[in-house]
Subunit: 310 residues, 2 copies
């Protein structure tokens, strides 16, 4: 059985719910009705290949619950109308519902992870959850900040995305009692994969393509500076800077004009180069993983992340 | 040293922060600058009297962090402009900031509690956190619902308030290795105390008094049916029902008229009777606690909660 097939088992745990309160089942059902890619759960399952622990699927479900809770809260934070091609909780119900069902999912993840009874796993996941919120706060604080540095952008990508990828791999390794050195290879490989995944996300947002299931140019419209904008702005002359600045944070923009300008200023090309660098590092680290099945599937995951269209 | 003095030590832990990100320190500082009553932390300290565990203050800080995270999120949910006499995070910054710093504080609580390395304590606190979010969701769903039952109101009071009081006492008992029976007395006593505390809160909201540090009649204005309204509405005739219904969820109301009506319909009196019932049960349970120092301070806490003016 490979990790993709095993995700079915994880989904069963995810969809099971404790409550008999109708409002909670409704919200919960709405959120878990559509299946996301579950790349973090997959990464976790891959990293724990070989262990006979009865908690393997439960741990993968915990990872997916944590991720989902952050998505639900992000939609409130970004005021997003959609998620995975469906209405977001905040747009279908309210911000209040989004905040509270997010808390419900977070704490459910904590209940499950406590049941695994492994302090190292608990340490890794509680620290990752804290780092994610830090990443999101840094990003929120950086909205519209044209002076943002490349280092800060990288820190945000790591905290808000890379960190949970890293924790997914490390906790998988912890469950299967990997050595400290192998845990580091797993974790560092996944960290690079996560940042790569985020960069690809940033690139997809700068594309005129409806297939990704969410509106494009969202980052730009929200005033969020991501790599394509960052690189373009750095290279822009004064007139071009003005034009880019004008578009940042504006709800209605001429998408073609902006995209053409960003392409012209190498914003896309430089971001793709950055993605290649993270891909290369991730592959190098994957090759140090001594379990060949894990190594192979990690490399597949890295290339899927680079090439994904949504 | 008594629990009130020990709270100083807890405050030191609370005010210490990990981050060097300015936005996070600013938000964190704003939230922990004012000292709340910390009744949950106090309850926890009282319940763990006698143990030599080095984690006593840390556990009390965890309880207070969890509680604070729920307050920050509640202010987003209720769109509250103030908290503890200062501007709320959502009104001073934004809803987005409130959501994310709440998540930050939650996960910080989890980091600390994992460091205590006691699975029973982790189970109790993760389950309590989940129950709180359920209580909040039930309350949100019940907004404006004039058909709400007394049982549902009691369930909401327990989940959103009583549950964390219960967990504060139980985890204190767990830390000091109390017997199963003593844990139950501690927990049940604290549960009743928590519900009593919530009922007193509901009563304070139906008073024309500026000393409580938050605006009055908030519950009514938000469409939240609490005990005073519930009892009054049940006894009201058709004309009075109409009048009460009209005020529910309205931002501007004639406070004196509504309060007079609710008093006339025994809404306050019946709620006070309910509070007395919870007080009585809490005291009975406190008397079963075999540590006399704990027993005495629990009873003091119960009477302070009943008589508090803010």
């Amino acid at each position: 059985m490979n990790a993709t097939k095993e995700l079915r088992e994880v989904e069963k745990i995810l969809k099971k719910d404790f409550t008999n309160e109708k409002i909670i089942s409704n919200l919960y059902g709405h959120i878990f009705n559509t299946n996301g890619k579950k790349i973090r759960a997959k990464l976790n399952l891959i990293s724990s290949y070989g262990t006979k622990s009865k908690n393997r699927y439960l741990l993968a479900a915990v990872i997916e619950l944590l991720h989902t809770a952050t998505l639900v809260h992000d939609d409130v934070v970004d005021d997003s109308p959609e998620r995975r091609g469906k209405k977001s909780v905040n747009s279908m119900w309210s911000n209040a519902h989004g905040v509270l069902i997010g808390d419900y999912i977070y704490s459910k993840a904590f209940i499950h992870m406590v049941n695994i009874k492994n302090i190292s796993i608990l340490e890794e996941l509680s620290s990752a959850t804290n780092d994610i919120s830090q990443g999101e706060l840094m990003q929120l604080d950086a909205l519209g900040n044209l002076d943002i540095t490349l280092n800060k952008l990288k820190k945000i990508s790591y905290f808000k995305t890379g960190r949970l990828f890293e924790a997914s791999a490390r906790t998988g390794g912890l469950l299967s009692k990997s050595s400290v050195m192998q845990l580091d290879y797993l974790g560092d490989c996944a960290k690079n994969l996560g940042i790569l995944f985020q960069i690809r996300d940033d690139l997809l947002d700068y594309s005129i393509d409806k297939k990704i299931g969410k509106p494009n140019f969202q980052d730009l419209k929200e005033g969020k500076i991501t790599y394509p904008f960052y690189y373009a702005y750095k290279k822009a002359n004064l007139t071009q800077k003005k034009e880019l600045k004008k578009a940042l944070g504006k709800k209605s923009i001429n998408q073609k004009t902006i995209l053409t300008l960003i392409i012209k200023l190498n914003g896309i090309k430089k971001t793709e180069e950055l993605a290649s660098k993270y891909r290369k590092d991730a592959i190098l680290l994957a090759k140090k993983i001594d379990n060949l099945k894990i190594q192979k599937e990690m490399i597949e995951l890295i290339d899927q992340s680079l090439n994904r269209k949504k």
